[in-house]
Symmetry: C2
Subunit: 148 residues, 2 copies
């Protein structure tokens, strides 16, 4: 069991590394970084709040804010204050982002789907069930540790 | 199949998030960050080269270098030039890191094992096989994309 547990960590590392490699390869010579791509994906037709982007990309609000700073500087997004509640800030994509999205499938949610097109349905099912098991176990552990 | 593929991405996100949460909870009120913990784990009894640490933690050399800068500033590691080849730099743990390691299981490789103690062997096997399948598929995709 010892060997498998360490191997599980290594495989998670390999999966994350491959996903980053794929995105890095796809963004090529644009001036975007991987975290910027992940944030851009969250902003579609509707403006988003920083908190909902943070929730989706699983990064801290402060990290997402600094990613948005750089995206705004490069003209891909813009911050808009809510007309009714001035404390609320919305992040909206610009025309420049819309144009970029047309050229880059990696900016679309569907990019992950394309990756799995040539994998048979049974394997996808098996992968999904195991990841669900692992994710639930780890979330349970987080809850346990926080209670201690 | 569409639902599962997007769910796979979400579960990977949940797994990564839980692992970060666990480490964040364990490091508590020390001045360490999660990437610093991952780098510290690589430095045991033997000094390491930046390139081998990068390989283990799956981060770029430049990222690992700046993490080591901060760890060195806080007295946890020290850089040593190779006595035979002055171009080679080794990163070694200090006595302060040894002391910290004794108090924090999260700094040990075995932390991941402890997480899985209460999961039955069959589930661990299933998780391992599925992750291996997913990792291999994604690494194959990276190779394919790079060839295009």
């Amino acid at each position: 069991m010892k060997i498998h547990t360490n191997s599980i960590r290594k495989q998670i590392g390999n999966i994350n590394k491959s996903y980053y490699d794929l995105i890095t390869h796809e963004i090529g010579d644009t001036n975007l970084t991987v975290p910027q791509v992940l944030v851009c994906r969250c902003i579609k037709d509707e403006p988003q709040m920083v908190s909902s982007i943070s929730e989706t990309v699983k990064l801290a609000n402060s990290t997402v804010s600094s990613i948005i700073d750089r995206l705004e500087k490069n003209g891909y997004v813009t911050r808009i204050r809510d007309s009714k509640d001035r404390r609320i800030v919305w992040v909206a994509g610009t025309e420049k982002l819309t144009q970029l999205r047309k050229k880059m499938p990696v900016l679309e949610e569907s990019f992950f789907e394309i990756l799995f097109e040539d994998l048979d349905e049974e394997s996808v099912e098996q992968i999904y069930r195991s990841l669900e098991l692992l994710a639930n176990h780890m979330m349970k552990k987080v809850a346990e540790y926080k209670k201690e």
